[in-house]
Structures are given as structure tokens and as C-alpha cells.
């Protein structure tokens, strides 16, 4: 996966955290990995175009709850529908902002999905290169997993 794509996701994540959560984040080194191990609350969004695949934002539960509290001005007592909605919207904004920075790839976004439960693994099909980008923030650590393949994935024409 080229550095331009990784940089776009790092920059968009920084922008979304600063603007929506008033939080400065520090990215770690992006590294290839074999599978995603979920931390508790994962926002998943599909990308199609000259790059295709899925992007997964992996939060642990306390971070997801704190982030929702900042967005709404009131911290939820537990992981509820608003936390799920907030993680979905953060996922949408991070991927949408990266899409804008990668205009030449002619990308389209699917609607985000949120998966709950820590410890489960997400394995990508062969041909998809998985890159994990760790982040530290004042609200805790999280990661962004890029399971993307360069080149347009053929669409059924029937």
C-alpha cells in the first residue's frame, strides 16, 4: 500500500479528532499485519474505486464512551446506542476526509457499520494488504486498520 494512502488516513484522523473531539493524537508507525484483533468497538466502512476494501477503526470501550461524551456534551453511563452511532459517525468522517485527500483514486464510501465485542479477529481475503496504524491520544490508544487493495475490483454486470 503506498504511503500516500497511509498519510491520508493519518491526516484525516488527526483532523477529525482535533475538530470533533478537541484531542491531539500521535500516530505510531504503520505496519503490515495478518489480521485485526478487535478492541471492543469497531467502526467498519467499505471503500470502492481505484483502491478498494475496508477500513476499520478500533476503539476500546472507555475511549468510545469518552469520545461520545465530548461529541454530545454528556458522557453516556455505558456503551449504548449513542456510542455506537458516534463511532459510526467518526468512522464515516475519517474515511470521508481521507477520500477527499485521495481524490485521484475516484473513491466511493459505503455506509459505516459498528461491530461490538473485544477479541474477535477480522481476517481479510488474499490479495488484500492489511496495514495497522496505532494512535495515542489523551483519551487512550486506538488503531486504524486499512484492508485495501489497489486497482478497481470488478463489479458484476448481470
Amino acid at each position: 500500500m503506498n504511503q500516500e494512502v497511509i498519510d491520508a488516513f493519518v491526516d484525516s484522523t488527526r483532523s477529525v479528532f482535533k475538530t470533533m473531539l478537541d484531542s491531539d493524537i500521535t500516530p505510531g508507525d504503520a505496519a503490515p499485519c495478518k489480521c485485526v484483533v478487535a478492541r471492543g468497538v469497531s467502526g467498519v466502512i467499505g471503500l470502492t474505486g481505484q483502491i478498494a476494501g475496508d477500513v476499520i477503526i478500533c476503539f476500546d470501550e472507555p475511549l468510545a464512551i469518552r469520545a461520545t461524551g465530548v461529541m454530545l456534551g454528556q458522557v453516556p453511563a455505558e456503551l449504548d446506542d449513542e456510542v455506537v452511532d458516534a463511532v459510526g459517525e467518526l468512522t464515516n468522517m475519517i474515511a470521508g476526509s481521507a477520500k477527499g485527500r485521495l481524490e485521484k483514486y475516484d473513491l466511493s464510501l459505503a455506509l459505516p457499520t459498528v461491530i461490538l465485542g473485544s477479541g474477535h479477529r477480522v481476517v481479510f481475503i488474499s490479495g488484500i494488504q492489511l496495514i495497522t496504524i496505532p494512535f495515542e491520544s489523551d483519551m487512550g490508544s486506538f488503531s486504524i486498520e486499512l484492508g485495501l487493495k489497489e486497482g478497481r475490483i470488478p463489479v458484476c454486470t448481470c
Binding site: 456534551g73 449513542e82 464515516n92 470521508g96 476526509s97 477527499g100 481524490e103 455506509l111
Partner: protein, 123 residues
């Protein structure tokens, strides 16, 4: 009299964030919809001074909603609030009749500035 606003976004959290901005400009008469189909039904059965709409939503997108609203002959101001930031997408929305455009993520002050432009006309 306060302006009446139709607020369309599939994210309840985003609707709450936008509602805070509307309250900041003293707009309290707000009808919410979570997709374009629901919004179009509401639009056709009521009168609004301003529409705020997301773009990517299930059932009917914000762009399709905008086109449907303009097809009725309505000139109501429509502000698109969306993650779609590419120049081509912005132009597509403006061509379809969007009055203004705000890219997510946004600072609350930026939204308030835009709202004041349209709300001031109606109050």
C-alpha cells in the same frame, strides 16, 4: 417568529451536534428525519424555512432529496452537511440547487456562521 428547520442525517449523534448549533441561533422549531425518504414526506406535508441535509444516507441520499425538493419548484435554502469534500461533489450539489455546503468534520462556529446567514433572513 422562529424559523422552521428540517434536519436530515442518519446519525442521531450528528443531529444532536447540529441541533446545538441551531439552538445557539435561537432556532427551536426543528423537525428531524433520518433519511431522504422520511425527509421528503415531511417536506411535502409541511412548510420549512431551511433544510439541512447529510449526503450519504440509506434509502434516499441527500443529493436525491435536494433534487426532489427543487423538482417541486421550492426555493427553500438547502445546506448540505457532508463528508463529501471533493470539488466535483460540491459542484454537483451546487448544480442540483444546494444553497450552501459544509464539509464534515466542522467546527461548530462555522456551522453557526452559515446558519445565521439564512436564519437572519427568516426572523
Amino acid at each position: 417568529m422562529s424559523a422552521k428547520v428540517l434536519l436530515v442525517d442518519d446519525s442521531g449523534v450528528m443531529r444532536k451536534i447540529i441541533l446545538r448549533a441551531l439552538y445557539a441561533v435561537s432556532v427551536t422549531d426543528v423537525v428531524e428525519a433520518s433519511d431522504g425518504v422520511q425527509a421528503l414526506d415531511l417536506f411535502n406535508s409541511d412548510s420549512f424555512d431551511l433544510v439541512l441535509s447529510d449526503w450519504n444516507m440509506p434509502n434516499m441520499s441527500g443529493l436525491e432529496l435536494l433534487k426532489e425538493i427543487r423538482a417541486t419548484g421550492s426555493t427553500v435554502p438547502v445546506i448540505m452537511i457532508t463528508t463529501e469534500s471533493e470539488q466535483g461533489r460540491v459542484l454537483e450539489a451546487i448544480k442540483a440547487g444546494a444553497s450552501n455546503y459544509l464539509v464534515k468534520p466542522f467546527e461548530q462556529d462555522k456551522l453557526i456562521d452559515k446558519l445565521q446567514k439564512y436564519i437572519a433572513i427568516e426572523v
